[in-house]
Assembly symmetry: C2
Homo-oligomer: 317 residues x 2
Amino acid sequence: MISEFELIRRYFTKAAGKYTRLGIGDDCALIKVNEGMELALSTDMLVSGTHFFSDVSASQLGHKVLAVNLSDMAAMGGQPRWCTLAAALPEANETWVAAFAEGFFALADRFEVDLIGGDTTKGPLNFCVQIMGEVRTGKALLRGGAKVEDDIWVSGELGGAALMLKHLQGQILLSEELVQQCAKRLHTPEPRVALGLKLINIANSCIDVSDGLIADLGHILERSQVGAELWLGAIPSPLIPDIDSLELYQCMLAGGDDYELCFTAAKDKRALIDDISSSLKLRLSRIGIIKRESGLVVKDHQQNVVELAIKGFDHFG
Amino acid sequence: MISEFELIRRYFTKAAGKYTRLGIGDDCALIKVNEGMELALSTDMLVSGTHFFSDVSASQLGHKVLAVNLSDMAAMGGQPRWCTLAAALPEANETWVAAFAEGFFALADRFEVDLIGGDTTKGPLNFCVQIMGEVRTGKALLRGGAKVEDDIWVSGELGGAALMLKHLQGQILLSEELVQQCAKRLHTPEPRVALGLKLINIANSCIDVSDGLIADLGHILERSQVGAELWLGAIPSPLIPDIDSLELYQCMLAGGDDYELCFTAAKDKRALIDDISSSLKLRLSRIGIIKRESGLVVKDHQQNVVELAIKGFDHFG
C-alpha cells in the first residue's frame, strides 16, 4: 500500500508559484501578501453522501472541491492565489487519487492557484479546501452593500445543477441534450472569478449562488437591511419545456450548486455591466430590484405575486 | 432541530479581534498581514475513529483540534492570529456543539486567535482547522536548517499521549496518578507557541512531534541532509517504572500526539536555551547531536547502539 507521505509527494507536490515563499513540506506554508492588499479566505468541506455520490468521477470531484471555493473568492472580487487541501480517504487507492489530483490541478493551474499545504488521513471520504487570495484593501465585494433601487443581477443560468440531481435521483427524466448541459453544472461548475474581479467598483453587493438564489439573495437582503422584488420571467435557466414549471422554478430559485454570482448595482452601471458581459462572453441578467421594504417578493410573467414555499439548503433543516 | 445557520450564529460567531478586517458572515473573511511579516498557515484534519474515539469529551476535542494546529504554528516560530474551522457532524446535537465550542474558544481566547471562517455540514464526524499567523519575513523556523554538530533538543516529555492511548485500549494499565498526567497529554495537549516564538534567531531547525520523535526528527534530517545520534537516556518521559522498557521506548520514540517541539541549535546557544527554559518554566532537554553521516543512530544508557524497529505513524502504512 502506498504511504501517506508518498501519496502527497507523488500527487500533491508541485513547484511553488511566484507568490508562495514556502509550499508543501514544512510545518506551515509561508506566503507574502502584496502591499495594499488584504488576504481574503474561505473554506468549504465536501462530504461523500451529503455533497456528492460515492461513485462520482474522481477527476470531476477534484475539480468541484476547488471550484466551490474559487466561487467564494469570486464573490468577494478576490484574485485567488493559494489553497490548502485536507482529505480523509477510506483507503489509499492510487488510481482514484491520481484522477482526483488531475481534476484538481487542471483547475488550479488554469486559475494559477498554488496548493501550499494540506493533510491526508484515513476516514470516511471528506475533502476540505481553503482558498486564499488577494483583494485591494477596502475594495472587496460584500453582502452588506446593497442599496435601495439597485438592480439585482445574476450570471449564467440557474437550476441546471439541481435539475441534474433530480435526474440522477430518478425524479425527472432529462433529454440527452439537457443531461449534457446540466451534468456540467452539477459536476464541474465554472467559478466566476473573472466576473468578480471586474465587478469591483461596480457592484454594491455580491454573493455566490451555492444554496439557491432565494437563500443566497436572502443573505444580501439581511446584511444590507433591505428587501427585494424578483421577476421569475427574467431569471435565466436551461430551457426545459417538458418539465413541470413549478419543479423548474424550484430548481431555479432554491436549487443549490449553481455557483453563479448574484450581485446588485446602481442603475447607472447597466452599460458597464453589459460591456463586462460581452467581454467575458457570459450572460448577465437583470432579475429584480432592491426595495426599501424588507422581505422578498417574487412576481411571475404577468406581474402577479407568486407564493413561495421554497427555502435554500440547510444541512440540518 | 437547530439550523446550520443558527448553530454557527449561536456558538461560533464572536467579535473579530484587532487583526481581522472581516470575520464570519460573508463569502470570505478578510485579514491584514502586518508589514514586514509573512503569513504562515497550516491545516490538520481530525477524524472520529482515526484521531479520537467517538465518545471523546466534546470540550476536550474542541481544545485538541485547535491545539494540534497551534502546534504547527509553534514549530515555525509563528504568532498565531486567525483560524478557520470546518466541521462535519452526524447530527446537530446542540449540547455537544456547545461543549465543543467551549473547549475550542477557551484555547483560542488564551492565544488570542480569531475564528474568522468555516463550514458546517452533515456527515461522519470530522474537523478541519486551518491556523494562520505571522512570522517576520525570512525568520521562520524551518525543518531544513539543521547543521552538523547542532544539539538536538526537545521540550517537555515524550510518550505520555501514546501511553494513555495504550491504557485506554487495554494494552497496559497505568496508575491513577499516571492516568491523570498522561490523559492531559492525549486529550488536551499544550501547544508550545511561546517557545517557538523565543526560538527565532536561536534554533537552526524545528518541528513539532506529532507523528513520533523518530519520524519527525527524520523530517529534519531528510530536509537538512544530515544524520543524527539520539541518546535514549536523555529523552524525557513520564516516569513509569512498572512499564516494560521496550514498550516505554516505543511510546517515547514513536508515539504520536505529543505536540512538543524538537529543534536543533548550535552549541553556543545552550545558555540562551536554558534561560528560555527557566523563563517559560518548561523543561528543555538536550537529547542528541546532528551528524554529517546520514541515518539516525540511537544509543542506550551504556552508549550501546539500539536496533530500532520503530516507525512514525502513517495513516495508510
